[in-house]
């Protein structure tokens, strides 16, 4: 029976011809050969996967984890820049804000006398006033 190339059934004639070309000799010997290798694998402490296959299984999750880590790092770094700017402003304000008396508020907010460095810093910052 001749089957058209469009046919969705197997072409028996072509199949038989290809089978005669592709079928190897002595199947049982081949099975024994494979099973000998299997026995060697078991004897060699075969534990399911070879080391490169284990690494291969970790490759994709590893890349995902690295990408997430990178994103998290960038976000923390960017956030740190923002927060860092606010912090420096918050620390600088009490020293730089000058009240009606012309004396920085930080000097008035504490009973402790200002140190020489603080006085010099305030003097330089408020020099233009």
């Amino acid at each position: 029976m001749k089957v058209s190339p469009f046919d969705h059934r197997p072409d028996r004639e072509l199949g038989k011809a290809l089978r005669s070309v592709l079928t190897g000799a002595d199947e049982e010997a081949f099975v024994q050969r494979v099973m000998t290798r299997v026995a060697e694998m078991h004897a060699g402490g075969y534990a399911g996967l070879a080391w490169w296959e284990v690494l291969d299984t970790w490759a994709r999750p590893g890349l995902v984890a690295a990408a997430l880590g990178l994103i998290a790092g960038v976000m923390i770094w960017a956030g740190g820049l923002t927060f860092g700017g606010e912090n420096s402003a918050a620390l600088g304000d009490p020293l730089q804000a000058v009240g009606d008396s012309g004396v920085p508020a930080a000097f008035l907010a504490t009973a402790r006398p200002p140190s020489l460095n603080e006085v010099m810093g305030a003097g330089l910052a408020g020099d233009g006033r």
Binding site: P5, L14, A17, L18, S20, G24, F30, Y46, A50
Partner: protein, 183 residues
């Protein structure tokens, strides 16, 4: 016993169960490997690579799905890997043959010529078409199953089988008068 049960036993370390799976699929695996790797000894090495890789990866096999396509995918990949590694050792392709037309009809000689011609026609096809036509017309796989083996859409498999059949049929037509004797 079903393939999935044998696979579960083999995964648990039952060598006899794995041996039974090898026996069930040895013909298919060798033919699929042979459709990728021209040399018979190399094809057998590739089929063996495929079986051993399947054994190592039995834990990934989904027992709700057919075992054959899963195994054939591994075998086909093993054969492709081996063929790539052996490019430098590739044999010269067989030249197209014409039927023997001498006066002494030697059946064995006809068969050898026919096999060589069909092998050459098969070797001239792209690898994916070779695997597709062998799985469909020799092993009786469905288009859907072949699509899973080759990891391509079903429509691509239909097209591959169509083109491969057309090319091989052309070769068979040359031997039309003699094929009853030699196939």
């Amino acid at each position: 016993m079903e393939d999935a049960e044998l696979a579960a036993l083999a995964h648990a370390g039952d060598r006899d169960a794995f041996g039974e799976l090898v026996r069930r699929y040895v013909g298919q695996a060798r033919r699929v490997a042979r459709s990728v790797v021209a040399n018979e000894a190399d094809a057998d090495d590739a089929a063996q690579d495929g079986f051993l890789a399947a054994l190592r990866n039995l834990g990934r096999y989904d027992p709700t799905r057919p075992f054959g396509p899963w195994l054939m995918r591994i075998v086909a990949n093993a054969a492709t890997d081996r063929r790539r590694r052996q490019k430098v050792r590739a044999a010269d392709p067989l030249s197209p043959q014409t039927p023997f037309t001498g006066t002494s009809p030697d059946r064995a000689a006809f068969r050898r010529q026919f096999r060589a011609a069909l092998e050459a026609a098969l070797a001239a096809l792209p690898e994916r078409r070779r695997i597709a036509v062998v799985l469909f017309d020799v092993e009786g796989y469905s288009h859907q199953e072949i699509a899973e083996v080759l990891n391509v859409p079903v429509g691509t498999v239909r097209s591959d089988v169509f083109h491969a059949r057309r090319a091989l049929r052309k070769e068979l037509a040359v031997w039309e008068d003699l094929k009853e004797e030699i196939v």
